[in-house]
């Protein structure tokens, strides 16, 4: 197993900068997700680690070996990197049986037939496909094909496994199951995993650390909890989980006035904005306290949606609307006047 280091990676496609200033150290045995909307450069970065795309600049190390460096004219071909890769559409070869698909990397390494047979058997068991060896891919379901792809990536004992949105073609129930299975496989094998996804829940459940990306740039790198609770900027706050954005003006180091003067509020700011500047306040729905009497901000309940374990409120405050989540113990009916307190909020520059 190996660590992966990406230093100052940049990738241009013609005039378009797909990835820029990408520097991340991935530890041995770590599970790291690249998370972001489509077109943010996450897949491009993964393909550069795999060796399918060549960086425009920057260095890539796998273990201690320098795999790619424009400056030093080094570029290892994909087949020289000992990387396992699982593709979004599985890429299971339709003209080979399951056994031949999974055994292929060993065949390339010219392993003995008996050894291939043993190892394929073990790997089939590992992914729960015992007895499927002689089938052809078209006889398998999507989930089973996905397991074949996983087995094929695992069988070569790769230094690193790269997974490119591997679950996006599966149905919701199977997707949740596979999240845990992939995580289990990683625990059993200890392999370093780089996982690309646009699904925040997937990244949250599986990752040790998440690299949030947008427009080719890293927005934040941290563990799931930190990313959710301490978003580094407006993009991260918006992309991960739900949040309310309110325009405001900064009146002192830790106090702001909400846009239309509906109240002043003390907040913790990431980067203290200058006094008198306009800023954006971000507050998550569960971080708004809602009561009948206590609170700085007055509002009116516009809509309530009962979600079982909680109630989702839309509260009108002046001419803006805030989303508030609260447990279902006490219900504020639509039309009633309420008071709000922000328990935890962040300031971002406009």
């Amino acid at each position: 197993m190996a660590k992966v280091r990406l230093i100052g990676i940049r990738k241009d496609f013609g005039d378009v900068v797909a990835v820029d200033q990408f520097t991340v150290d991935i530890a041995d045995g770590e599970f790291v997700s690249f998370l972001g909307p489509s077109g943010c450069g996450k897949t491009t970065t993964l393909r550069m680690i795999a060796g399918f795309d060549m960086p425009t600049s920057g260095d890539i190390y796998i273990g201690d070996a320098l795999m790619s460096s424009v400056e030093q004219h080094i570029f290892a071909a994909p087949e020289e990197r000992n990387i396992g890769m699982v593709f979004q559409n599985y890429a299971v070869w339709p003209h080979m049986t399951v056994f031949d698909n999974i055994g292929y990397p060993l065949k390339i390494k010219k392993e003995k037939r008996t050894r291939i047979k043993d190892k394929v058997g073990q790997t089939l068991a590992l992914v729960g496909l015992e007895g499927f060896g002689e089938r052809y891919p078209h006889q398998l379901s999507g989930g089973q094909q996905q397991r074949v792809a996983l087995a094929r990536a695992l069988i070569m004992d790769p230094e690193v496994m790269l997974l490119d949105e591997p679950l996006s073609n599966l149905d919701a129930k199977l997707r949740e199951e596979m999240r845990f299975e992939i995580k289990d496989l990683q625990k059993k094998t200890g392999v370093t995993i780089v996982y690309v996804t646009h699904d925040q829940a997937e990244a949250m459940v599986m990752s040790d650390r998440i690299v949030v990306m947008n427009t080719g740039l890293i927005q934040q790198v941290n563990n799931p909890r930190k990313i959710y609770e301490n978003p580094a900027n407006r993009f991260v706050a918006d992309f991960i989980g739900l949040t309310n954005f309110v325009e405001c003006e900064v009146i002192s180091n830790d106090t702001v006035v909400l846009r239309d003067g509906i109240g002043s509020h003390r907040v913790k700011a990431h980067v203290p904005p200058g006094i008198g500047e306009r800023a954006i306040l971000s507050v998550r729905p569960e971080n708004i306290e809602i009561t009948e009497e206590d609170g700085d901000i007055m509002g009116v309940v516009k809509r309530t949606v009962y979600l079982g374990n909680m109630i989702d409120y839309r509260i009108g405050v002046g001419d803006i609307e805030l989303r508030v989540e609260k447990d279902a113990e006490e219900v504020f009916p639509e039309g009633s006047e309420v008071r709000l307190t922000f328990k935890k909020a962040f300031l971002f520059s406009v």
Partner: protein, 567 residues
């Protein structure tokens, strides 16, 4: 509720039957009847009992036997060479970074648009032993007295066929290479395979079914082709089945000639059927589809220092196999006489004036081809659309038979269809259309009906049933829905079907050459007769006119359908 439902169902069925009746009757009369006659004629004795005597007897004549062997061996060799040409070209334009590969992709398809008999004429001009341009040039250049090439040989037939049929392989293989999911190859790279190993283990096995499909089309085209073996082979007395059948129709005496011709037709049908079976057998275990819905960005091979050599190679190939022959035809059409020196004072438009305005025979054949093609294209588009609608949109029993009958005349060699027409419509059964324009009209309509059924059917399949249902819910009846929703949506398919049938009919040769009469020559027949009789300049001028119409028509079709059809 129950009554309502049964009422609608009853009406639908009644309408369906009425609606199906006309095309079904027509197809039975002009397709099923003539084609079954060929079989009946060949295996029933005069007393009406089953016999293989006719089929055996034709092989007592050695030339007949040789023509079968030639058909099979020439077709197999052509398949071999078309694979050899088509696959590398397909790979180059889809998987490398060669400059201008998009242009070459279009160029390599051009031979597909050129009628093979015109190609044969052009190569005759270039490589005929005494007067061919290339031979004359080489003989002057290195001072030899024996012409280095002779096109009028067995090898010459294979050569010209390979150059005009390789696009079948090229198109199918390029399509497969483009649509193949690139991650299939990437997965193999990640598994440790080098570039060439990936090609051997993944790429080649995955395109193999497409190569086989292209090869099948080539084999059938080569078996069925008349123009190339007629214009190249008959000069050297090399016969294949199609030319042998032609020979018997013209010099075998009507009754006996027709009898032998239909027995030979059986072997022509069997040859193409065997290829079909071989293809099925080869594909039996390959039930996979590599076709992926979305368009893929294929992995390109960086040619590096080979970029320019590849480019030069492709340019030379295009020049030698496409521009040189076409230029040659145009050049000869503009010369005062075949064989004169190429100087400014020898250029003239007299040949065009002659064929277009002066010579009654060519004027009549142009008029015949135009009215035949216009009428047949319109009739078959209307009927083909009706059939396509029945096949795609209704549950009427027997619609599969309709589909089979409507596409059969295009799947069998044109020569066989023509023999069927002669058997059915030359007076034996009370209808005598032989030597009239009607037998050609029926043959043309039947032969190209498949184009309308396929192209309109494909358009219909893309229209979701709910669009029609929404119209019905909105209050439109079945007819109104058809007019307001279905017709506008399939319009590109209708236009394409009309053009796709019209253009090949305009220069049709294989069927026409067996069915034309003294008053019903067509353009294809006229070109063929000119060339056969040695009026090369007139043949070249008429061929040039055909080429101009073909290229203009293709351009027009591409414009009208927004690039969906045409090249």
């Amino acid at each position: 509720m129950v009554t309502l439902k049964s009422v609608t169902k009853g009406r639908k069925l009644g309408l369906g039957h009425l609606f199906m009746g006309v095309p079904a009757l027509v197809l039975l009369l002009v397709v099923a009847f003539p084609i079954s006659l060929i079989f009946i004629q060949s295996i029933l004795s005069e007393a009406g009992t089953f016999t293989l005597e006719f089929l055996q007897r034709i092989f007592e004549v050695r030339s007949n036997y040789l023509s079968l062997i030639n058909t099979l061996s020439i077709s197999l060799l052509t398949v071999f060479f078309t694979i050899l040409i088509g696959c590398p070209l397909a790979w180059i334009v889809t998987r490398t970074d060669m400059p201008l590969k998009g242009v070459f992709k279009t160029l390599f398809i051009i031979p597909y648009m050129i009628p093979p008999f015109i190609g044969a004429i052009a190569w005759g001009f270039l490589l005929s032993p005494r007067t061919g341009f290339v031979n004359k040039f080489l003989m002057a250049l290195v001072d030899i007295s024996i012409p280095p090439f002779n096109i009028y040989t067995y090898e010459g037939i294979v050569f010209v066929m390979s150059l005009y049929f390789y696009p079948y392989v090229f198109i199918t293989v390029a399509g497969a290479l483009e649509r193949m999911d690139p991650s299939l190859e990437e997965a193999a790279r990640s598994s440790g395979s080098g570039r060439f190993r990936v090609m051997r283990d993944i790429t080649l096995p995955l395109v193999a079914p497409s190569v086989s499909a292209g090869a099948l089309l080539v084999f059938i085209a080569a078996c069925s082709n008349f123009g190339i073996p007629a214009l190249i082979g008959m000069e050297g007395r090399i016969y294949v089945l199609t030319t042998r059948i032609f020979y018997y129709i013209y010099s075998g005496g009507f009754e006996e000639g027709l009898q032998i011709a239909s027995s030979l037709s059986i072997f022509l049908v069997i040859s193409s059927a065997l290829a079909l079976i071989a293809n099925r057998w080869y594909l039996r275990k390959k039930q996979f589809a590599i076709i992926v819905g979305k368009s893929m960005r294929p992995n390109l091979v960086t040619l590096g220092k080979y970029r320019i050599p590849f480019f030069i190679g492709c340019s030379l190939f295009s020049f030698a196999t496409m521009f040189a022959p076409l230029l040659c035809i145009v050049l000869i059409s503009l010369l005062k006489a075949y064989g004169v020196e190429i100087t400014w004072k020898n250029f003239t438009l007299a040949n065009y004036k002659f064929i277009l305005f002066e010579y009654e025979l060519t004027r009549a054949s142009i008029w015949n081809s135009i009215r035949l093609s216009l009428t047949a294209a319109t009739v078959l588009t209307v009927m083909g659309s009706l059939i396509a609608y029945i096949i795609v949109r209704t549950q009427v029993t027997g619609r599969r038979i309709l589909e089979f009958l409507s596409t059969l005349p295009y799947s069998i060699p044109g020569t066989v269809l023509a023999i069927g027409m002669i058997l059915a419509f030359s007076g034996k059964f009370g209808i005598n259309l032989y030597n009239t324009i009607w037998i050609l009209l029926i043959a043309y309509t039947a032969r190209y009906m498949a184009f309308a059924v396929k192209s309109v059917g494909a358009s219909l399949e893309q229209i979701h049933m709910s669009l029609e249902e929404a119209a019905r819910i909105s209050g439109a009846g079945w007819g109104r829905t058809f007019r307001d929703i279905v017709v506008p949506l399939v319009k590109p398919g209708l236009i394409a079907a009309w053009f796709l049938a019209f253009m090949p009919m305009l220069r049709e040769l294989t069927v026409s050459v067996l069915l034309f009469g003294p008053e019903t020559r067509t353009i294809g027949v006229a070109v063929y007769e000119f060339q056969d009789a040695g009026y090369y300049d007139s043949a070249a001028a008429l061929a040039t006119c055909v080429l101009i119409v073909i290229f203009a028509g293709n351009f027009l079709l591409k414009r009208i359908t927004g690039g969906e059809f045409g090249f």
